[in-house]
């Protein structure tokens, strides 16, 4: 055993969430009326392309959620010792990207540091841009850099295209065989968009992602594609690590929100009377306190807790993780009120419907009525709320980091990157790549999430059904 698995709190919850989603998918597949709107989502090219991008993000996030501690070399087998540094499977996969550090800033694809330093050259000390330790280290001189980059990009392009072509061919043969038609006929259908799913868009998207991945792979080998930050860490690596933080905040928060919103919303609408009053009281109180304050207080409370129980948080990762979890919980606590109010209104309408009244007259238990008749009829609202909130939460993380109550400063997150980049913009020449990388990744994730959310909403919200 060369490693000790570490299960952080958020890891456990992420995989719990994954199990819940898997369970849901399984249920949905078996029920026709639930499957239909998802089928409609699957018809939308934009939504499916977005889903594909999301899937890539999620895959990286999940890989980054499998944590372990490496066994220290030369520690005895019967009493193994482990490093305090918590790594993830993702770290293991990217390998050298994590460890290849420079001294300080370097521009994207550069081979020299961004700041001049004293370097000894032929016995004379001159102030010049020193070469990087890793970036472009294989090159003899600066003139060779550009052709090398072009060559690598071209190679990446070719590899990506080839890979997607092979995959596409395999897909075509497989689908054609299953459908029992000739491959050429299937290709004709594909070209005409008659396959019943947005095949052309998806093929294009897969190709795009494959090419992107291949080019990145080619370049990261010997360059820092997004440059390095102040202490010389690869910005691409930081951006990729930030994906998990963004996803955790976006998803775990909803895990907290949902039970609160669903239970309180439906119960308030269904029972009315003093229960309704009490729940309304709670959410008016919560709503009227500025969210930032609650979050600041929660983050401070966690800090106090961590300080008083240092033995349970022996690694930096565990400390950062508990803060992330607290952030998710408190953001969930502050954001369930909107959905609860919506569900309450919907339940108020539903409880007056004939079949609900009839069920009550027959003496069916409240729990059963809620489970059978109310919940399924408001479920689409819940779903729409989840996908819509996701992007908002990812964006909120950045703002909270700015205010100083976001995730732990040692944690990789886009918020921390943007926060650090504020100072870099004042440099001359400007260090733009950290901000640029955070922007690109965040934009890609949020845009994909928004587009997917649009698709889901259009398919599920009956009012929006025929808007085009």
């Amino acid at each position: 055993m060369n490693a000790q698995a570490v299960v952080l709190w958020t890891d456990a919850l992420v995989f719990l969430l994954l199990a819940v989603v898997a369970g849901l998918v399984w249920t949905i597949r078996r029920q026709e009326h639930l499957r239909a709107p998802w089928g409609a989502v699957a018809q939308r090219p934009m939504a499916m392309a977005a889903a594909l991008v999301l899937a890539v993000f999620v895959a990286i996030g999940l890989l980054d959620s499998l944590h372990y501690r490496e066994r220290l070399p030369d520690s005895s087998a019967d009493a193994p010792q482990y490093s305090v540094e918590v790594l993830s499977v993702f770290d293991a996969l990217v390998g050298e990207l994590r460890t290849q550090k420079e001294k300080t800033y370097s521009a994207p694809l550069a081979m020299q540091l961004y700041a001049k330093e004293f370097v000894e050259r032929d016995g004379v000390t001159v102030r010049d841009y020193p070469r990087l330790v890793h970036g472009g280290a294989h090159l003899a001189d600066a003139a060779a850099r550009q052709p090398d980059i072009v060559r690598r990009v071209a190679a990446g392009l070719a590899q990506g295209l080839a890979a997607s072509l092979v995959a596409f061919a395999a897909l075509a043969v497989w689908r054609a065989c299953r459908a029992g038609v000739a491959v050429s006929a299937w290709l004709d259908d594909w070209r005409a968009g008659r396959l019943g799913w947005p095949a052309r868009t998806l093929t294009g998207m897969v190709t795009l992602l494959a090419v992107l991945g291949a080019v990145l792979l080619q370049l990261t080998d010997v360059y820092h594609v997004f440059g390095t930050d102040k202490v010389g860490q690869d910005v691409l690596y930081i951006s990729l690590k930030s994906i998990r933080t963004g996803l955790v905040i976006g998803t775990l928060t909803t895990l907290v929100t949902l039970p609160l919103a669903i239970v309180f919303g439906i119960v308030a609408g269904y029972f009315r009377g003093w229960i309704d009053d009490a729940i309304q009281y709670v959410y008016t109180v919560l709503n009227s306190i500025p969210g930032v304050l609650l979050i600041a207080a929660a983050v401070l409370i966690v800090q106090v807790y961590v300080e008083s129980n240092p033995q349970s948080f022996d690694t930096a990762a565990a400390r950062a993780d508990i803060r992330l979890l607290a952030l998710c919980v408190i953001m969930g606590v502050t954001s369930w009120t909107g959905l609860a109010r919506l569900l309450r209104g919907e339940t108020l309408k539903l409880r007056t419907l004939d079949y609900v009244e009839a069920a009550r007259a027959f003496g069916v238990s409240h729990a059963r009525i809620i489970g059978r008749h109310v919940f399924p009829n408001v479920f689409h609202l819940v779903l729409i709320a989840i996908v819509l909130d996701f992007s908002g939460l990812v964006l909120a993380e950045a703002v909270l980091s700015y205010v100083g109550v976001g995730v732990d400063p040692t944690m990789h997150s886009w918020g921390n990157m943007i926060n650090g980049a504020r100072l870099e913009l004042a440099r001359e020449p400007v260090v733009w790549w950290q901000l640029g990388a955070a922007f690109t990744f965040m934009f890609a994730l949020v845009l994909a999430a928004n587009l997917f959310a649009d698709g889901v909403r259009d398919a599920f919200d009956p009012r929006m059904g025929g808007r085009r």
Binding site: S83, K116, Q303, E307, P409, T410, R422
Partner: protein
């Protein structure tokens, strides 16, 4: 969009009409050629009451407004105390237990009291202030006001009448009593009650009086203090327990500035505090400037005090000062400017941008704007970049009398203690934390690797090869360099952690670093810390927390490694060594010795050193103390920061003085030149407005065309 576009265009035109040459001037309504310094403050000062204020950002104001009896000479180095309101720098007279005078060189053990007699110059008057205003009959106009009357006033300037009064010795004594006032919680009360005779007792008396008095104001004139008494109108006397040579430096700090009793009576009236009319916010002083506007949310404005007693620009200075033009104004009446405007500027980016645009007269250099401003010559001397020189900006550098260090908690079971193995562990870590690299990454070379607790420019510091810390540095071919990491590794092995593992159990060595660092730069610095110990295969866990938690940990001794700094209060090595003095331990006694270092030998030497006068003997003791702390390594001596400042070409008489806090009065500026430069540097770039308008048209035009077509089709 169209409407918004029109609106914006309209606003733009309005702006254009409002100011023709510079559009981005952040000081609307102020004359371009006013003889006024423009500066900024990052955090609103909490206290401007000289009995309470202790932070450097507050002293920036109180230093200009209040006048303690002494000040530091503006130009002379090493720092020299000269009289400000006093006649002369007082010499202490020593007395034994029965009040008999002793010789100046009497041994410290015999001295029961030191007596400082300070004579102030007559004819010094306070700034105009309503607290002094009297009517024709000589009664104070504003000493018995109705709350309703006060509620109508928004600022002090709204009181119609002002008056002034001559400064008398009683005002100084009054302020010393204020240090013991229970309602003021003066930060130096604890320290001073150890030194000033009777101050502790006065504090207790006042506390009792406050409790029985039920909210009535304590009139400090009714209480006497043995350690501070008025001799005659212009003379007062301070009695110090035993010998405390450093006391003289405190007499140059605003804590010992005069406060007129009229001001306290005035501000104690009902309704005053609700309007923020308190001594904390509206100082009353004799200095060259007075606080004319106090809106800490936006700006603070200092104006020339019309009653200023007339000080002249110093005429003594070195040849270098003369060459730098610092003596050009010798003999001229101070202050040389009419006032200063401090604007609130929390973020560094706007501050830097505004400095480059000419809206601030001076600026520090953040590490991020460093490369834009400074390059190094082949010889390693800092120089301004061409773009800076093109703007006629000058660079002012100095080594601060401060020290940053990483402290070990000496009570910690892993790193603490005076045992040989622990000492070696700390020495190994001292070598591993490569602060030379830190200085180049995070400070752009604006720091000097520290060799011990005493920063340069202070008595006791030894320059060059002789002054190195032999446990961390070595001399190689005449050059000082950090000892190699292998040396740290072998020290670590000797300490019982070969290759970072406990020799007995095989467990990895895990250390905890406590920090309250937050903010954009923190992550990078913490990553760097971890990187340093990676070299020794020692694992560092960073425990980030907030100010309160951090303080709490230090107080309880729960920290292991922590980062801290110290700014000299006065130019005496005692002010640094006392941070390591055993009886000042943080845990238990609540002193300033955060590392809880307690070495009997060091303590003994400290007690001897603190009462000595500067000279070879003292140097010898200091050298011994240095060697002890270097060997014991309770601190990793990180660096002495160098401060780099930039000033615009129109600013003269700038010489960094780390002790003096009243240097604004020496500053001179050239307003017409500044006004001209601002216009040159801030010509608005107009094409984006045009481009924006074009884009707007490009967006709307197709819409309008399509709309028209549509309308036609329908019709």
């Amino acid at each position: 969009m169209t409407r918004a576009g029109n609106l914006l265009l309209g606003l733009g035109l309005l702006l254009l009409a409002a100011c023709s040459d510079t559009w981005n001037d952040p000081y609307p309504g102020s004359a371009a050629d006013a003889n006024v310094v423009y500066s900024a403050f990052a955090e609103r000062p909490k206290h401007l009451d000289p009995a309470r204020s202790y932070s450097s950002n507050e002293v920036e104001f109180t230093g200009q407004i209040y006048e303690p009896p002494l000040q530091y000479h503006f130009l002379k180095r090493p720092y020299e105390l000269i009289p400000l309101t006093a006649d002369a720098v007082p010499r202490p007279r020593y007395q034994d237990g029965r009040g008999r005078p002793l010789a100046d060189d009497a041994p410290a053990a015999q001295i029961a009291q030191s007596v400082y007699e300070i004579r102030i110059r007559p004819g010094i008057r306070y700034q105009p202030h309503p607290a002094f205003a009297r009517d024709a009959a000589g009664r104070y106009r504003y000493h018995a006001l109705a709350a309703g009357f006060v509620a109508e006033k928004r600022q002090i300037a709204d009181f119609e009448h002002t008056g002034t009064r001559e400064l008398v010795a009683a005002d100084y004594v009054y302020q010393i009593k204020r240090l013991a006032h229970p309602g003021l919680s003066s930060p130096i009360f604890g320290l001073m009650s150890e030194h000033i005779v009777g101050l502790q007792a006065l504090g207790e008396t006042l506390q009792k009086a406050a409790q029985t008095g039920h909210g009535t104001r304590l009139d400090l004139r009714a209480f006497s203090l043995e350690g501070a008494e008025v001799v005659d109108r212009y003379t007062y006397r301070i009695r110090i327990k035993g010998k405390y040579p450093q006391f003289i430096y405190w007499l140059a700090m605003p804590f010992f500035a005069p406060i007129p009793w009229e001001a306290e009576v005035f501000y104690a009236q009902p309704g005053m505090a609700d309007r923020n009319f308190t001594l904390d916010w509206q100082p009353v002083g004799t200095g060259p400037f007075y606080l004319a506007e106090n809106d800490p949310n936006r700006r603070m404005v200092l104006k020339k005090n019309p009653n200023f007693h007339g000080e002249t620009y110093p005429d003594a200075g070195s040849e270098a000062d003369r060459a730098a033009g610092l003596l050009a104004d010798a003999g001229r009446a101070l202050p040389l400017i009419d006032g200063a405007v401090f604007s609130l500027e929390k973020e560094t980016i706007p501050y830097w941008s505004k400095f480059l645009q000419g809206y601030y007269d001076s600026s520090g250099i953040s590490s991020d704007s460093f490369d834009q401003a400074v390059t190094f010559s082949a010889g390693g001397d800092p120089q301004l970049t061409d773009s800076m020189r093109a703007q006629h900006i000058r660079l002012v550098t100095t080594v601060a009398t401060s020290l940053w260090y990483v402290g070990f908690n000496m009570l910690d079971p892993v790193v603490g203690g005076l045992g040989e193995d622990r000492r070696k562990l700390r020495q190994a870590l001292s070598i591993a934390f490569d602060y030379d690299e830190y200085i180049s990454i995070f400070l752009n070379g604006r720091g000097i690797p520290a060799q011990g607790p005493i920063p340069p420019g202070m008595f006791g510091h030894v320059e060059g090869v002789k002054g190195i810390n032999p446990h961390v540095y070595e001399v190689h071919e005449g050059r000082i360099q950090r000892r190699p990491i292998e040396a740290a590794r072998s020290l670590l092995a000797e300490a019982g952690y070969p290759d970072g593992r406990n020799a007995k159990t095989g467990e990895p060595l895990v250390l905890y670093f406590d920090t309250m660092a937050s903010g954009p730069d923190a992550k990078a610095r913490l990553d760097w810390m971890k990187k340093q110990l990676d070299k020794l295969n020692v694992q560092l866990v960073v425990r980030g927390t907030d100010y309160n938690r951090f303080q709490d940990k230090i107080r309880k001794g729960n920290a292991q490694l922590f980062e801290w700094g110290w700014n000299a209060d006065y130019p005496d090595p005692e002010n640094f060594f006392f941070l390591l003095y055993g009886p000042h331990k943080k845990v238990g006694t609540g002193g300033e010795n955060a590392a809880n270092y307690d070495n009997p030998e060091f303590n003994r030497l400290f007690e001897r050193m603190k009462d000595m006068d500067n000279g070879p003997q003292r140097q010898q003791v200091i050298d011994q103390m240095q060697e002890i702390v270097r060997r014991d390594a309770p601190w990793i001596f990180a660096y002495y920061p160098k401060s780099f400042g930039l000033v615009h070409g129109w600013v003269t008489n700038v010489k960094p003085n780390l002790m003096a806090n009243n240097t604004l009065k020496y500053r001179r500026i050239d307003p017409p030149r500044r006004a001209q430069r601002r216009i040159e540097w801030n010509r608005p770039v107009l094409w984006p407005i045009g481009a924006g308008a074009l884009v707007l048209v490009a967006v709307i035009a197709p819409a309008v065309i399509a709309w028209r077509r549509h309308e036609k089709k329908v019709a």
